[in-house]
Amino acid sequence: MILDLILGSVALVCISFAYALIIPGIERKVHARIQNRYGPPLTTPGFWNVLKAFFKQKVTPNSPNPRFYYMFLTIGLLEVPFIVLFSNPIWWGVLGFGTVFAIMGLMKVEEVDYLFIGSFSKSIMSLGMPFPDIVKGAKPAQDRRYFEEISVTRALKMITISSFPVYLALFVPFAVAGSLQIQDVVNMQNPLFSPLSQIPLNSLPQMLSFLKPFAFTLPGVICTIVYFIGYNILTNARPFDIIKSKVDVMEGPMMEYASKWRAVYYVFTGLLSFTLSSIFITIFLGIPLALNAPPMLLLHLLLIPILPILSAILRAFSPVLTFKQIIPISSTASVMAFIALALTLLKF
């Protein structure tokens, strides 16, 4: 039993790493084709970037405490695969981890991680630039800050303002199923799925005819839209990437990662995209990443690139938004999520 658990977990982590190295390439290629040009090959922004960064010289970052700077990134990297694992059938029975609170808690930890990373980074591209500012005749200096510190304040605002609609939209399917367990949500949408028995591949058409995904109902459509906005907020994609927009704070808290740790950071961002897309397919479409049911596994793996591709299309057509525009958008999304919740409660 324990051996099955460990082998299954290792296989899942390998699958998520493989996707984490190819999703950035797919996104960049979609951007390029929209912009009327060829763009880099599919493996370059993901796989070869990671390998090249891995083989560079080790440098000491400009940081008051480099060990903490690395430790928080390691925490982020180690806890993101657990989101995929907890939403997987082999972990559903273990210690009550297969609930919505486990997933939400881990997502929150990942968001708060940016605050800690940013406090330990002091790069030369902002305040550290060797330029004589304090000279006779200049305005007096007062409490000078690095870009990373501005970015940390913005990340705190994003946590309090903008991630609320996502958690609400994630909660609605559990309200429909009437339980906090992911198992009940999947069983509600996928009645022929049972985690204990082996399901052969040729029963895929039969399973598809019995599949009733939550995303195709009216509250489901609203929640999908809200979840898509939240996907862009949580992965810091272009309309909402105010904490690491290139024209303002120039990569924000992650500026001082170099060589091996930059490879770790690339993998971390790829893993995050894969993870958020995977829990969408599990919870909203009812197709878990089940290793002992090949039709479910195949369908799940084929549907994963859809959310990153849609996010890349949105990213190509939007500028960076400031808080003047983000706050109304997230308020509207919260209202939509509340309406979806009310619709589900009124139907029963």
Binding site: Q35, M125, F131, K136, A141, V247, F317, V320, F323
Partner: protein, 382 residues
């Protein structure tokens, strides 16, 4: 709580090295200071005592985006000093290259402004519109940047367009107009981009007049200061001076989009009315002249050159006044009250193109008296 955020000399939002210090209170800018001495190259010092036929080589390299305007203005001042007149065909071709460069500079600005707003796709679209223009200029003059078309008394014979080149330029203008229409409409109707630029970075008309802002920066606030109205070379052509009244970032961007259409009109008129004749006139070099000055409308504003030629044919006391110092000073006032990201966009929207800053104000700290000091390289000359 007030904190200070310096935006450094190397930054993705700037294309020239200058330093901006923002004082920010909870994401809102309350004060700003711009220092732009990093690009000082001492051009007026190396121009002192250069033979007059060689001075044009240096005057052109002051700026890469308005290089034709610097050279044209320098040649105008020299011709006024020496008493030479260029031929008529040469005047028309100088206007043609000038308007082509104005389009090129405004499209570069739109691409750069889109980059600072954060919209990557519009950058690629703007640069895609620009590339055929650079190839046309390459065929007409021989280089993509730094064309070196005017000489004293006319233009370089290499830049004399043949019938084929004129047909190509006409074809380019006809090709560009519908593509430009669709791009400008798409740009000005995008709700997310317009929500960023509308209402941010407002420059009031009184502030623009007090700081003497020039060019499209001031015309977007309602100040009518286009120098082309006073230039005799533009008299035969029919074009509109565009004025807008809002003074925010959207007005500055829209104004430059509309000015591209006026430039296309002027180019069509030049090609229709181009007179035949020689391109270089007979020039008598009467040295030992008085001071001569010339004003011209560069894509960023009003440009001023002055010089005199001494008895041996060398240039003396060359002075250049570029449009950007006062534009940046008025932007210091315009970015107050916005969020930090919008303030960076405001400073990029006045299209700064720094040439050598060439003046210093010396303040006596004890007595408080001020006097103007000219810099000639590292030494101060009164």
């Amino acid at each position: 709580m007030r904190v200070e955020v310096p935006v450094g000399t190397i930054h993705p939002a700037l294309i020239e090295p200058f330093r901006v210090r923002f004082w920010v209170e909870d994401e809102e800018v309350v004060d700003c200071e711009i220092t732009y001495n990093a690009a000082h190259r001492g051009i007026e010092k190396i121009l002192e005592g250069v033979p007059v036929l060689k001075a044009s080589m240096i005057a052109e390299k002051v700026c890469g985006l308005c290089s034709h305007f610097h050279l044209w203005n320098s040649i105008r001042a020299t011709e006024k000093a020496l008493g030479a007149t260029p031929t008529e065909r040469a005047q028309y071709i100088r206007v043609l290259v000038a308007e082509l460069e104005r389009i090129h500079s405004h499209l570069f600005f739109i691409g750069h402004a889109s980059e600072v707003v954060g919209h990557e796709t519009f950058v690629y679209r703007a640069f895609e519109l620009r590339e055929p223009l650079m190839r046309i200029l390459f065929e007409l003059t021989g280089n993509r940047v730094h064309y070196a078309v005017p000489v004293i008394g006319g233009i370089r014979p290499r830049a004399n367009p043949s019938e084929e080149t004129i047909k190509k330029i006409r074809g380019y203008v006809k090709d560009l107009t519908p593509k430009l229409d669709s791009f400008v409409q798409r740009f000005l109707s995008d709700p997310l981009v317009m929500s960023r630029v509308t209402g941010s970075g407002i420059l009031k008309k009184s502030v623009a007049e007090e700081f003497y802002a020039v060019g499209p920066t001031a015309r977007a606030s309602g100040v009518n200061n286009d120098v082309r109205q006073q230039m005799p070379e533009y008299k035969p052509f029919d074009y509109k001076i565009i004025l807008l009244n809002d003074g925010d970032n959207k007005a500055r961007v829209t104004l430059r989009c509309l000015e591209i259409y006026e430039s296309l009109k002027i180019i069509t008129q030049v090609l229709d009315k181009l007179p035949a004749g020689p391109v270089v006139g007979d020039v008598k070099l009467n040295f030992d002249t008085q001071f001569a000055e010339a004003y011209i409308e560069a894509p960023r504003g009003e440009l001023y050159h002055t010089l005199r030629v001494d008895a041996k044919g060398k240039v003396r006391n060359y002075r250049i006044r570029t449009p950007t110092p006062t534009n940046l000073a008025s932007m210091e006032k315009a970015c107050v009250g916005d969020q930090l990201t919008d303030a960076v966009l405001t400073i990029a929207s006045c299209d700064p193109c720094l040439s050598c800053s060439n003046r210093a104000l010396v303040v006596d700290a004890e007595s408080g008296k001020e006097r103007m000091q000219e810099f000639n390289g590292g030494r101060c000359v009164k």
